[in-house]
């Protein structure tokens, strides 16, 4: 990403405005309102560059296509709403989970996904 383009700006803006992890498809749709006619290859190429540059992080949820969000520095988890299928950040964490693993296994990292209904859908 050496040059600033209308498409690149639209893509980053879309993600920054979302405040939750977005699918490539959602990013394409959001960016298309700022930059009509934008192609999916451009979205994927920009996402890839932004992830490699450390500006975005990839959110892989079980059985789901990858989502992308502005990179947080702090450890966090995710909540997947069963009703609207949106994903939200969870800034809390139960802490050390090393004791869960079988004997002889070394735990370096963990990921937690919560499932249920988000505040908007509960209403």
């Amino acid at each position: 990403m050496e040059r600033i383009t209308k498409q690149g700006t639209a893509i980053l803006n879309a993600i920054q405005k979302a405040h939750r992890p977005l699918l490539a498809q959602e990013i394409l749709e959001a960016a298309a309102s700022d930059s009509p006619g934008i192609g999916q290859a451009t979205v994927y190429r920009n996402i890839k560059a932004l992830v490699e540059g450390g500006l975005l992080s990839t959110v892989h949820l079980p059985g789901e296509n990858p989502r992308f969000e502005v990179a947080h520095l702090h450890h966090h988890h995710h909540f997947h709403c069963n009703l609207c299928n949106k994903v939200f950040d969870v800034h809390d964490c139960p802490g050390d989970l090393k004791q869960l693993a079988p004997a002889g296994f070394q735990v370096e990292r963990h990921e937690i996904t919560l499932y249920g209904s988000c505040a908007a859908c509960v209403k």
Copy 2:
């Protein structure tokens, strides 16, 4: 699955012998030793029928293709080895994680994935 076939038997045997979740590809390779020439469509169709019949469960790990294991009735999690890329069951659980979610969110279920080195790779 109304009829018992050599291929179906080979597929179920492969999964039962593994004692860990297997990729479709791994199931194909394992079943091929019992039933040479078995096609991947057969593996996918059998897996699908077994999952729908409740004999197998699907293990979705973040960023990974689905794996399949004999359905356990009890709640458990998974450990993904960073070195050999195999996945193992973790029969322990930190318990209720409802308090992690933001206010107004209802948690119904959770999944935990541990990452690190398995006992065999630690050596």
